[in-house]
């Protein structure tokens, strides 16, 4: 949220400013958790692949990425929700379109029914995106079945 004024200052149009904010809001958690995921891969995983003749490419594609995938998904979930929040706030602040803007507008006209409807739409959109992401994750990480999962 602290980035908001900076973003609107740096980017002349509010559209590009909100794109920047969303990229920031998703990119940072995804990048940090991907990085921490890759660096937490036990070195013994690499030792195994190396002694069996795995190339550098094999180590990245067949060891590092699958081993870090659970972390990447945590980052994606955090990124998705914070992107949504940032989007709505950006719309409230400047962008003349979207649900956040509609929320402001409806409130301004004291059209509370419309406002709550907009909130409901927001909640549904957000949760269905999260559900979709869950589906993708459950498919890719099906091997975790039976393990402790968050």
């Amino acid at each position: 949220m602290a980035w908001l004024p900076v973003a609107f200052f740096l980017f002349p149009s509010s559209w590009s400013a909100s794109v920047f904010l969303i990229a920031l809001a998703t990119g940072i958690p995804v990048a940090i958790l991907t990085w921490s995921g890759v660096s937490s891969v036990p070195s013994s995983y690499y030792d195994i692949a190396r002694t069996l003749g795995g190339s550098q490419r094999f180590l990245v594609l067949r060891v590092a990425i699958p081993a870090a995938l659970p972390h990447v998904f945590v980052g994606l979930f955090m990124g998705l929700t914070s992107a949504f929040v940032v989007l709505v706030v950006a719309e409230m602040m400047g962008v003349k379109a979207g649900l956040g803007w509609y929320l402001q507008w409806a409130q301004g006209w004291a059209a509370y029914g419309n406002m709550y409807a907009a909130l409901l739409v927001m909640a549904v959109v957000c949760s269905s995106l999260v559900t979709l992401l869950f589906k993708v994750r459950n498919h890719l990480l099906s091997w975790q079945k039976g393990l402790v999962r968050w």
């Binding site: 036990p42 030792d47 190396r50 069996l52 003749g53 094999f58 067949r62 081993a67 990480l141 393990l147």
Partner: protein, 263 residues
């Protein structure tokens, strides 16, 4: 059980390993921790060498050097007369921990080496053979977290054997097995080693296991590990645990490890 060796009689001889004056140490918190001290060991093709020594003396470190995962601080290690520059699938390690990839099934874990070397198409049949060799038929589709500790260790053994190694490096591969499975796996490993021609380097904590399996017993001192004794075990197979020759050697090994008073 014998399918693997009979289907493809090993043509390549075992690997000769020559370890000469190897010293190794680690940096622990700014301090130098000497781990191996002037280790010299010549291993002939096809030998079965057991390494015995106190916990933490440096046995696993020596195995990592032979595998090519680390380079010694000084001294040289040669495989068939050529210096070891890095890991190679002809020298396969079964580590102390099974370290199976949790996202792969048993079948796909065993397939790892063939996949890494691009041999999956031509050697696919070996995967099933290796899995049944270690008695995991019916578990090919299971994930590692669905296996018991002993089964995971056997899967790790299959993952090594599928590559038809010329040097098999075993770091307490039977340590996690119950005593019944352990005793039968000891015979299985010896039989496998006799049918194939690979050289075997086995680290174990179990003196009886070493004497039952190996052709040669190397005893290390505490850290930094130096070779205290190098004993030939001149006994044909199959061996018998009650063999007085072996019990005699067992007494000798216990003495070398400072355990004589427990005899």
């Amino acid at each position: 059980m014998v399918a693997l060796a009979q289907a493809e009689p090993a043509v390549l001889p075992g690997m000769a390993v020559s370890i000469a004056h190897v010293d190794h140490s680690f940096d622990l918190d700014g301090q130098v921790l000497p781990v191996l001290s002037d280790v010299t060991l010549d291993i002939q093709p096809g030998e079965f060498v057991a390494l015995l020594g106190p916990s933490g003396c440096g046995k696993s470190t020596l195995l990592r050097l032979v595998a090519g995962l680390d380079t010694p601080k000084s001294g040289s290690i040669e495989a068939d007369g050529l210096p070891i520059a890095g890991p190679d699938p002809s020298r396969v390690v079964v580590f102390q921990d099974p370290t199976l990839y949790p996202w792969r099934t048993v079948h796909d874990n065993v397939a790892l080496g063939l996949q890494a070397q691009g041999l999956l198409k031509s050697h696919r049949h070996r995967i099933g053979e290796a899995i049944s060799l270690v008695g995991l038929d019916g578990f090919a589709k299971a994930f590692p977290q669905q296996l018991s500790g002993g089964m995971a260790q056997r899967a790790a053994l299959a993952r090594a054997l599928v590559n038809d190694p010329r040097l098999l490096i075993l770091d307490e591969p039977l340590g996690k097995l119950d005593s019944i499975t352990r005793i039968s796996m000891q015979s299985e490993l010896v039989a496998l080693w006799q049918r194939s021609n690979f050289t075997t380097l086995l680290v174990t904590h179990d003196i009886e296991e070493a004497l039952f399996m190996a052709t040669r017993l190397v005893v290390f001192s505490g850290r930094p590990a130096r070779i205290k004794a190098d004993i030939a075990i001149e006994r044909p197979y199959p061996r018998h645990r009650s063999d007085p020759y072996l019990t005699g050697l067992r007494h000798k090994a216990m003495e070398l490890l400072g355990l004589a008073e427990t005899w």
